[in-house]
Symmetry: C2
Subunit: 401 residues, 2 copies
């Protein structure tokens, strides 16, 4: 008997038929003798509908009240799924984020889990019930409801798997695994059987949109075995774990992220503390930084380039302009018309041919590179947004043909 955490996204629970489909997957797992904790997101467009309701009232809702509002989406899902499970004869109980013991910091709309008190979940499992937990939400120390931000339900699932030392955390989605590229962009993309946490982390943070990077980080930290698989087909997915067979493909995938903006601060004084001032300003405002590049100082000036999430572009622009006197610079540009295209694979850096092959491919396809960033297992370029899909297809073709 194993303990399995299963997470289902919003499209998997969007309507009655989908809910019963999920209920059958869960009940089968439970009937095989496993303890099961299920984490679900809000149904289909519920979250967007709730945001639209708030948008009718104000263009600048309090984040606390927005979290209060949005948390209802998952609460509806858990109640309905618990009913569907009962209807097919599987004993189940739903728990909101706070009932399930999720304690977070107080950063409304993007809270981080500080602690998970599993007492209630464990006592319900001990009664042989499937426990259906609302993803994406928790409670801060003021007893106020918080939400975890994008991909929060994945994070909730991994946190439960970590805290309960679950044998497996299955992330059910509308794709049947992790592919070498987005199959909608690259039709001959291949499904991977296994991938390491680090590779997945790069793919996730680079916009592969299969798994949220916070959830993969958490899985890596607590060695939670993840499986990405489809709720619509009963086939094995992709296993994400610490070490995988070092044989096989050098490059694991090509990813695109077009939810990104490129920020340039041109000709800032070449003196200590400038980067600190800029990035602490970003951090105070909870803006996540992606790539950072700094040009070599020349004639007393340097350029500072970095990427931020697209949604934070207006705030970034405003913050930089308001605080310009603190770090100088001739010009501030926030370019939202860009995309990041990346290749990922462990051991890539020891194969210098990889980078040149990517650059060659882009050159042959007449795609201009605006920024380049590398790590041990990835290589990213910032290019024009309209050229991103063409770049992904060409690069995938070059490596996986």
């Amino acid at each position: 008997m194993a303990l399995i955490v299963q997470k289902f996204g919003g499209s998997s629970v969007a309507n009655r038929d989908r809910l019963f489909n999920v209920a059958r997957i869960v009940a089968n797992t439970h009937n095989e003798g496993n303890d099961v904790v299920v984490v679900v997101s809000a149904q289909g467009d519920t979250t967007d509908d709730l945001i639209a309701k708030a948008g009718e009232i104000t263009h600048d809702p309090s984040k606390r009240e927005l979290d209060m509002l949005l948390a209802t989406g998952e609460q509806i899902s858990i109640a309905l799924l618990a009913m569907a499970l009962a209807e097919i004869g599987c004993s189940a109980i739903s728990l909101t984020g706070w009932q399930a013991g999720f304690h977070t910091d107080r950063a409304y709309s993007r809270a981080r889990i500080k602690d998970l008190d599993t007492e209630r979940i464990e006592s319900e499992l001990a009664r042989n019930r499937v426990v259906v937990v609302a993803g994406f939400q928790g409670l801060n120390r003021y007893d106020d409801i918080t939400t975890l931000g994008r991909g929060g339900s994945d994070t909730s699932a991994v946190a439960i798997a970590a805290a309960l030392h679950a044998d497996l955390c299955q992330i059910y989605t509308d794709v049947d695994g992790v592919y070498t590229a987005d199959p909608r962009v690259v039709p001959n993309a291949r499904k991977l059987d296994t991938i390491t946490f680090d590779e997945m982390l790069e793919l996730a943070s680079l916009g592969a949109q299969v798994l949220n990077n916070r959830s993969v980080e958490l899985a890596k930290k607590y060695s939670v075995n993840l499986e990405v698989r489809s709720s619509l087909t009963n086939v094995p997915g992709t296993i994400v774990k610490e070490v995988v067979d070092v044989e096989g493909m050098l490059i694991k995938g090509v990813a695109k992220d077009d939810k990104v903006a490129a920020v340039s601060i041109l000709e800032v004084p070449d003196q200590p503390g400038i980067s600190f001032k800029v990035f602490s300003l970003m951090a105070q405002n909870k803006i996540n930084i992606g790539i950072i590049l700094q040009s070599v100082g020349r004639s007393g000036n340097k350029d500072l380039l970095f990427t931020v999430p697209l949604e934070d572009a207006p705030l970034t622009q405003r913050l930089l302009e308001e605080n310009r006197s603190r770090f100088g610079g001739r010009e501030i540009k926030v370019d939202t018309d860009v995309a990041k295209v990346s290749i990922v694979g462990a051991g890539m850096q020891s194969h210098p041919g990889v980078a040149s092959k990517m650059f060659e491919t882009l050159y042959e396809n007449n795609i201009n590179i605006q920024m380049i960033a590398t790590s041990e297992i990835k290589l990213s370029v910032i290019i024009k947004k309209e050229e991103a899909d063409r770049a992904v297809a060409a690069v995938h073709d070059a490596f996986f043909r």
Copy 2:
């Protein structure tokens, strides 16, 4: 400076414009220097929509899960109203039932408030915030969400007013006060300026549909001054309080309740314990009994007649038939085609002319009376449902012409 509790029903917060209308009423009250706690219901048809969602899944949802589901309706309302208040410059914070400190028993779907811990509400009031509380909901000792059943938001409002010793509890509704009869049935019905708790209690429990009887009982118990008024017109409503001017009208109103079923158990043995067995069975199943009549025992048998809420009619029928061997009886009938029509007024019983005037009026209108019940301040008859509106109009005409 006073402390005022204001309660708004679902139609008052049904959409953006209605929400801002409510926000303005609340903000005005707050701007006049009062502390304000607002209790709101779910928007418009939200509760019905959620019940329909559950109905797609199962015909017999777990009441615990149904409460989990329905509680989201009020949570949406409080978040949106807090946003609307902020938008018009009024500092506000929303609290769910459990955040507001509502502790209930464990009777899902019709829980009773056991305790109200006002610490959070008071601390928010001390920060000069309007506190927006989700009506209808609380938390039981298992930390599970419960709902208070029909009219629960009124009860929530009165409970807060009682616990905080509020100066006034205003129940905003779509009518501008308590009338001598339903104005939709009797066009020349008159609005009352004041009414006693007992009179209101009879009117509420008799189906006047203005105030829920549990909320009036609670208001009477804790001497909470109530005002029933409209959220759409800025005119004084009807004040409900302990003692009102004894001058004036003898009869305060005519009420109809067609959400009632008449139960007859015919020819049960005339021996002790029969009533106990029947009514303890009802109580165990949380079925509220209205009128109870018992015929005089004759030749060793008696008839037991009572009314139950219409929604409980199928359950009542089933329970009585399953347990028939415990109390005997020749025949069990549950008649759902009935209505209760009542007249209410303090001191009525000392004026014997009142009852005969009502019976005479019904006789003149050829309306057959199936059951009669009286109390100190009311007189009710059970008649055929299809004759109820005609009976109300005729009786109102007889007393208020």
